[in-house]
């Protein structure tokens, strides 16, 4: 990003930056894991399993930790979710498994399922091996577009089932949002790349980077060259604010700021403003705001249109921002951004409230001075790469059935480019399930 007196890199010394972007939630010790695993009641037909999009046998893997059967525990997790390591770190467990833990009812303190999952999967990754091997080769070749969690989960399952897979991705590195779109301290120490290597170690998967759908290949050509195609192409677009001043220097998309951080090994070359305003209410807004603060911004204000409970970032995420000295202002809609050709100066918001169940912004305006504005009001699926193809887009996403089939024969899709929760864990489920459907279809065809 362009640097101005108010937007600069190196605001903090290197050792402080290193500390600020290291693992935000360090792993459990073996002792802590044992104590925590003993707390699990081993519920029957457990609500936590139902709450996990990938349906991991949570009581099963926790029981195995308590008995010291860590290899068995890791396998239980990974056979449902090959990205169990990333999900242990980035899942909003407070609204998924941990949110449904029966101990919430009893004592308001759920089992730390995410931390235990990390304990077991970290062990597996330290072994440098994965617990799965490939079935006898089928001779089938499948193309996967997008090397994010959905695409790689699909590729892994397909490889396990004996197919050969080629994964295409437009970027320089595989990993998708795990590599480019999540706060650095959530997946510290190059975890995303290590996990990609772990997933690929099953064999039979080739990664082709720098390959953009619609530019370097088309769906029709892939369909012709491969036995099946899976699309895990995510969101390529970001929503605009649609207000005046959106293009002054210093106004950026939060996803680009996060990506810049993720591609910088030291963070010392990433510029940040003194007074940063982040607009939005999801995890991207939180990740951008907290990282701006940790880069050395003096004041970071996260501004959201509605109330705390309407934010898609969970209460835990909001509190994480607040304990990182980010100010959150609710019920404020952006009205305009003021500045000059040299840079942004301020953002004006309209105060609102709920009237008859609707948000109304008629409570007067206020202005926040800012030298950097990060926009995080949502990401969009861009159907452009598929414009030439005969595939049905519905409500802005690729239409799929329960097995991940699109309207085009032999073409499947999953993850953020299809409808549903925009979560890593949901993308993994989609990819895995599509792989099962692809195998069932190819094997049923009997050829």
């Amino acid at each position: 990003m362009d640097q101005t007196p108010n937007i600069a890199a190196n605001r903090l010394p290197p050792d402080m930056l290193a500390r600020n972007f290291s693992d935000a939630h360090p792993p459990l010790t073996a002792g802590q894991a044992t104590i925590e695993s003993d707390r699990c009641y081993f519920c029957y037909d457990a609500p936590c399993i139902e709450a996990c999009p990938t349906g991991i046998d949570i009581p099963g893997f926790i029981k195995k930790i308590s008995t010291g059967n860590i290899p068995g525990s890791a396998r239980t997790i990974l056979e449902s979710n090959i990205f169990g390591g990333a999900c242990a770190r980035v899942c909003p467990t407070e609204i998924l498994c941990e949110g449904k833990c029966v101990r919430n009812t009893q004592e308001d303190r759920p089992i730390q399922i995410g931390a235990l999952q990390r304990h077991a999967t970290d062990w597996q990754m330290r072994t440098g091996k994965q617990p799965f091997s490939r079935a006898p080769l089928t001779g089938k070749r499948i193309a996967v577009v997008g090397a994010g969690p959905a695409g790689l989960a699909c590729a892994h399952r397909l490889a396990m089932q004996g197919h050969d897979v080629v994964v295409f991705d437009a970027r320089a590195r595989a990993g998708g949002l795990n590599e480019y779109g999540i706060a650095a301290y959530k997946l510290a120490d190059e975890f995303a790349q290590k996990e990609v290597a772990f997933v690929l170690s099953i064999g039979g998967i080739t990664i082709e980077t720098g390959m953009l759908l619609g530019r370097d290949m088309t769906l029709t050509s892939l369909r012709a060259d491969y036995d099946a195609v899976f699309l895990g192409i995510g969101h390529a677009g970001v929503r605009a604010l649609g207000i005046a001043g959106e293009y002054f220097p210093g106004v950026h998309n939060a996803v680009e700021f996060i990506e810049e951080l993720r591609t910088s090994p030291t963070k010392s070359d990433v510029a940040v403003g003194r007074r940063v305003v982040v607009i939005g209410g999801g995890n991207t807004a939180i990740d951008a705001a907290v990282q701006a603060k940790r880069l050395g911004a003096e004041e970071v204000t996260l501004v959201y249109r509605r109330a705390a409970e309407n934010m898609s970032a969970t209460t835990v995420e909001q509190e994480w921002a607040q304990t990182n000295d980010v100010t959150i202002r609710y019920w404020s809609a952006p009205v305009r951004i003021d500045g000059t050709e040299h840079g942004v100066a301020s953002v004006t918001f309209a105060r609102g409230l709920a009237k008859d169940g609707r948000a109304v912004y008629d409570q007067g305006n206020y202005t926040l001075e800012a030298d950097m504005v990060l926009k995080a009001v949502g990401q969009l699926f861009l159907p452009d790469p598929l414009a030439e193809d005969d595939i049905v887009i519905e409500a802005g996403r690729i239409r799929v059935d329960a097995e991940g089939r699109t309207s085009m024969k032999g073409v499947y899709a999953g993850g953020d480019c299809t409808a549903g929760e925009d979560l890593t864990v949901a993308a993994v489920r989609d990819g895995r399930n599509a792989a099962e459907a692809i195998t069932a279809a190819l094997m049923k065809a009997g050829n």
Binding site: C43, Y44, D45, S66, V102, T105
Partner: protein, 426 residues
């Protein structure tokens, strides 16, 4: 405020809490700390003849259960490994400084009259209040025809008890081994020999676990293990049964009982008392947490006695014994049913799966307004209590006794081919 003092077979103690003959009572230093902490008395770790025994290094093995340390403890330590004269001098010094406490000395010498005749006056000269005959130690000493090797032969129990009564004026407590099939046989032998009281249980023969790397029983001593004596909370149920057996049997019921076996808190104490004990001996709990645990025992028991209106230990001793009967005296017409407090239920499903897989399919699992819902099917419930035991929430599942019409025990039951047919009236 309840009076906790006792007179146990002539041995006076300000409270019924004694440390059992074991490592905590091996030395003057430990014993003084215990008495300062408030213990009513100690049974000094077993004295033997010189030269003293030699103990191994690596002495204890323990059972862990779901994170609970020392749910059971196993030891392969023998009797005191210090010279007799040293122990005797220390006992004398302690008794002199703590005249109000019960100082009892555990003894184990070969089954030879001369040996007992020789040691008893030496012990008596310390001013000790009584002796306990160690007929229980199930490892090491039993290989030398002492400890449980004596306790397992009623004739020997009787013979040695008689020698002791003959050669000392001190009250004689016979410590019984649980490593037998019928506890009444050695208890009766002690009674015949003139014992003033019995104490039980000593430790249970055990292999506490196996080291899967060393391929040897634990605790491992240079690559090998041996069986040991098991104690701690895990053995309490076994102890309570044996205690109750002696307390409810008319001829042995005259023996004062010092209860031993996994006693860890005042609640355990109360249970041992109502099953027939007058004094209590503790070891594992003290070895786990230190001597300070006696504080809770003292005021917990005292508070409970106040609440129940019991003024002395004698008011408590044996309260539950009349209700400890053989199975054939239980009322077969009694019925209790599980009831789930739906407000307290946390929906873990453990009651359902326990009943469904292993019992009577009496707890249904349904969805009620989208929530998991577990309900007792009264017609199928046999009142076994399993669901109430597996439920992790206190008082969520309660067993509700149903109205009973009359009494019918197995003795009168039509299915009993041996039933007693009441004589016809007139």
């Amino acid at each position: 405020m309840a009076d906790l003092s006792i007179n146990f077979a002539g041995i006076r103690s300000p409270n019924p809490f004694w440390l059992a003959s074991a490592p905590p009572t091996d030395k003057e230093y430990n014993v003084r700390r215990a008495l300062e902490a408030g213990w009513g008395g100690v049974v000094w770790k077993t004295l033997g003849e010189d030269p003293p025994v030699v103990n191994v290094s690596s002495r204890y093995g323990a059972t862990r259960y779901n994170g609970q340390r020392m749910a059971g403890l196993n030891n392969i330590e023998l009797i005191t490994d210090r010279p007799l004269a040293v122990n005797l001098a220390e006992i004398k010094a302690v008794k002199k400084d703590y005249p109000d406490r019960a100082i009892i000395v555990s003894i184990m010498v070969p089954c030879v009259e001369e040996s007992w005749k020789r040691i008893l006056p030496l012990v008596e000269a310390t001013g000790a209040d009584g002796i306990e005959l160690n007929f229980g130690c199930p490892h090491g000493m039993s290989e030398r025809n002492m400890g449980s090797a004596v306790g397992q032969v009623p004739e020997y129990v009787e013979m040695v008890t008689r020698w002791c009564k003959q050669y000392t004026r001190m009250p004689v407590i016979v410590k019984l081994t649980p490593n037998i099939t019928n506890i009444l046989n050695p208890a009766r032998a002690a009674l015949r020999g003139g014992a003033d009281a019995v104490s039980l249980i000593n430790t249970i023969q055990s292999v506490v676990g196996v080291d899967l790397d060393a391929m040897a029983p634990m605790p491992v001593v240079d690559g090998r293990g041996t069986h040991g004596g098991y104690c701690g909370p895990a053995v309490k149920p076994i102890a309570l049964r044996m205690l109750g057996e002696i307390a409810r049997t008319p001829d042995t019921s005259v023996l004062p009982i010092s209860g031993i076996g996994g006693i860890s808190n005042w609640r355990d104490v109360a249970e041992f008392l109502v099953m027939g004990a007058t004094s209590l001996q503790v070891c594992t709990a003290a070895m786990h947490y230190g001597f300070r645990i006696v504080e809770d025992m003292i005021d917990g028991l005292s508070n409970w006695m106040d609440e129940k209106g019991f003024e002395t230990i004698a008011d408590v001793t044996g309260r539950a014994v009349p209700n400890f009967v053989n199975w054939n005296q239980l009322n077969l017409k009694f019925r209790t049913l599980a009831a789930i407090d739906q407000e307290a239920c946390i929906k873990c499903g453990l009651c359902h799966i326990a009943c469904e897989d292993t019992s009577h399919q009496a707890i249904s699992k349904t969805l009620l307004n989208g929530e998991r819902h577990y309900e007792v099917i009264d017609e199928e419930c046999v009142g076994c209590n399993l669901c109430a035991h597996v439920c992790p929430v206190d008082d969520c599942i309660t067993m509700v006794p149903q109205p009973v019409e009359g009494v019918q025990t197995w003795n009168e039951h039509p299915n009993n081919p041996m039933r007693k047919i009441p004589a016809k009236a007139g």
